[in-house]
């Protein structure tokens, strides 16, 4: 029970929350309202004339096959990123849970990639996979595979997925490890006595008990893939080749700032906002209910 403590009227509480409110207003509410406002305007490329057009920007957007392509690419991309980073992190966490010696050092090392900025991560991967200079593409060509993500859309997608997933593995790993460690050891022992081997225990006992963590991470990873992979895409492929990795956030940027279609770009932002809001709602609503037991 929280106690309600009553203070006399004072400006102090307001002063204390003021920085937070200012940050939210300046960096969130104001841009968001600008986007909302822009999304119902039509502006010429030089910013000389502005016209109020109701929902025409949205209509145009939703009837544009390129937009739907980008939508599909985003879905595929975020699914792959979430799947790859989560399954990899889960495997690492399960192994790390069994490590007894040196587990501290091992875990610390695994967490490092999370501290790498997206752009740096992207640059790292671009460099490794550079068709002429990259060490990985060199190794691949030695194996008889000519890697060129600058020409091949599938390879470009694979590269941005890898770069984005790699960064997220550390974060997922931490949560999975915490989830694993909260599973009572005697449950695993009971299953061992019941005759379940390590693989079977993982599938029958550990994974179901991790499902709240998994669900939480799924939403977090999708949000990450949708919105925070901009830096990676920008450095690695810039949305190319031929729009093969042009995910929605990147399209907002390229249409708005490169293509200078401010209204259309703002409409896209609004749609993205709606997506992230609904994902968050789903998260809050179901994260408790989804507890499978």
């Amino acid at each position: 029970m929280l106690k309600n403590v009553h203070f006399g009227p004072s400006v102090l509480p307001f002063l204390l929350v003021l920085p937070q409110i200012i940050v939210t207003l300046v960096f969130f509410i104001w841009p968001a309202s600008q986007a909302l406002y822009q999304s119902v305007l039509l502006e010429d490329a030089f910013g000389l004339k502005t016209e109020f057009v109701w929902f025409r920007n949205f209509e145009e957007l939703l009837s544009d096959p390129l937009y739907w392509d980008s939508f599909k690419i985003t879905i595929v991309f975020s699914f792959l990123v979430a799947f790859l980073s989560m399954s990899f992190a889960l495997a690492l966490a399960i192994f790390s849970d069994r490590v007894i010696k040196g587990s501290g050092a091992y875990r610390t090392l695994l967490i490092w990639p999370y501290a790498v900025a997206p752009v740096t991560a992207g640059a790292l991967w671009v460099f490794m996979f550079n068709p002429t200079l990259g060490i990985v593409s060199y190794a691949l060509s030695a194996l008889g595979y000519e890697w060129n993500h600058q020409l091949n859309g599938g390879e470009a997608m694979a590269l941005v997925v890898m770069a984005s997933a790699w960064k997220q593995v550390a974060y997922n790993f931490l949560f999975f490890l915490a989830g694993l460690q909260s599973i009572s050891k005697s449950l695993i022992e009971a299953a061992a006595i019941d005759g379940a081997g390590p693989m079977r225990r993982t599938i029958d006992i550990i994974l179901p008990l991790l499902s709240p963590t998994t669900f939480f991470l799924l939403v977090i990873n999708i949000v990450y893939a949708f919105f925070e992979t901009f830096g990676v895409i920008h450095v690695v492929t810039a949305g190319g080749p031929a729009g093969a990795t042009n995910i929605l956030v990147y399209k907002v940027f390229s249409d708005g700032f490169v293509g200078l279609d401010l209204g259309g770009s703002a409409a896209q932002s609004v749609i993205l906002m709606i997506i992230v809001i609904s994902l968050t709602v789903v998260q809050f609503k179901y994260v408790e209910k989804r507890v499978a037991y």
């Binding site: 009572s184 022992e189 009971a190 299953a191 061992a192 006595i193 019941d194 005759g195 179901p208």
Partner: protein, 361 residues
């Protein structure tokens, strides 16, 4: 059905901590062995070694006809009931009980028959079988945990303090149920507890562990009547045995608590220990209140606890400093500060060597 034979079993944990220093015991087919000892003495370690959840550092463990040292838990044909029940929280009660059978690869009909049979024995209703463990009370969860052990039809049951999470009343009920069940099924069982009553009532034999060593092994009544060491004497019986420094006279006929009247030593005396300083043990229930008896010793009362059925009187003999507890039956009107005439029944004296802490005679 199987015998469980432990020969020279030792355990050293990876951090070099020696938890068990050589245990030898043969648990007969169908026998119920209870392991007791203070916290941290290695009871769970020993049980988990039998289960295969801890490796055996040294020694040989045989279950039935096989040396099982290197077998997986599932290959030892044992079932274990954990202190926290360890029920799979995401599975229904039915699935909890059926899980092991499913892994064994039994046909569905057989699994159902076994689960239903166990449920009937444990008085779990069909409706309860569909619930999740968290929708059950502590006692019901305990039953499910037992059920999961029974359905496997193992040759050995292992229990690690299965009743310690239950309230007092339920504990009494489940204690009887476990005893009845074990007697009916006739499955060899090893039961870890630190509850006095469970230790005395449940098993055929009782093994007292102290810091990884076996202090004594025998029937509960043997341990109660002839504790082999000071440790066992103090551990078995509630309230605990009274101890006092004493000296045996030169002929070994009487024993004297410092500064008190000499008490006769029963059954022929202890001639071989004549003139020795010893520790005398007397159980609280073997002290009587007798007004006007010539051999009564005055006891100064400090505290009285009324239990209803019994009264526990705490105090000390005369001027001596060693604490003393007397258990009198019924409700007594005794107050602190009173001096009571207490008589010691000579046949119930326990005499221990103060150096080796072993029983004399």
């Amino acid at each position: 059905m199987a015998r469980v034979v432990l020969e020279g079993i030792r355990k050293t944990y990876p951090n070099c901590f020696k938890a068990i220093h050589g245990v030898d015991v043969e648990v007969e087919d169908g026998e119920f062995l209870v392991l007791v000892g203070p916290s941290g003495c290695g009871k769970s370690t020993l049980l988990r070694m039998i289960a295969g959840l801890e490796s055996i550092t040294e020694g040989q463990l045989t279950i039935g006809d096989h040396v099982v040292n290197n077998l997986e838990p599932s290959e030892r044909n044992i079932a274990m009931v954990f202190q926290n029940y360890a029920l799979y929280p995401h599975m229904s009660v039915y699935k909890n009980m059926a899980y092991g059978l499913k892994i064994m690869g039994l046909p569905k009909a057989e699994i159902e028959a076994r689960v239903k049979k166990a449920a009937a024995i444990l008085e779990l209703t069909d409706e309860q079988l569909t619930r999740k463990p968290r929708q059950l009370s502590g006692g019901q969860r305990q039953r499910v945990a037992m059920g999961r052990a029974i359905v496997r039809e193992p040759s050995v049951f292992l229990f690690d303090e299965p009743l310690s999470n239950l309230d007092a009343k339920l504990r009494v009920q489940m204690r009887l149920e476990i005893k009845t069940l074990q007697a009916n099924l006739g499955i060899t069982s090893v039961y870890v507890t630190h509850d006095q009553v469970e230790a005395m009532t449940l098993g055929h034999r009782l093994m007292v562990l102290n810091a990884g060593n076996v202090e004594q092994l025998g029937t509960p009544i043997e341990l109660y009547q002839r504790p082999a060491s000071l440790f066992v004497a103090g551990f078995i019986g509630s309230p605990a045995m009274n101890f006092a420094e004493a000296r045996i006279d030169a002929e070994g006929k009487t024993i004297t608590i410092s500064g008190q009247e000499a008490l006769p030593l029963g059954s022929g005396g202890m001639a071989e220990h004549g003139g020795k300083d010893v520790i005398l043990g007397i159980r609280p229930e073997h002290l009587e209140l007798v007004a006007g008896a010539p051999d009564a010793v005055p006891m100064t009362v400090t505290m009285v606890e009324q239990l209803g059925a019994d009264t526990l009187v705490h105090g000390h003999f005369g001027e001596s400093r060693s604490d003393l507890t007397v258990r009198l039956d019924g409700i007594r009107n005794i107050k602190g500060g009173e001096v009571l005439p207490i008589r010691v029944t000579p046949d119930h004296l326990h005499v221990f060597d103060p150096k080796t802490e072993r029983r004399l005679s």
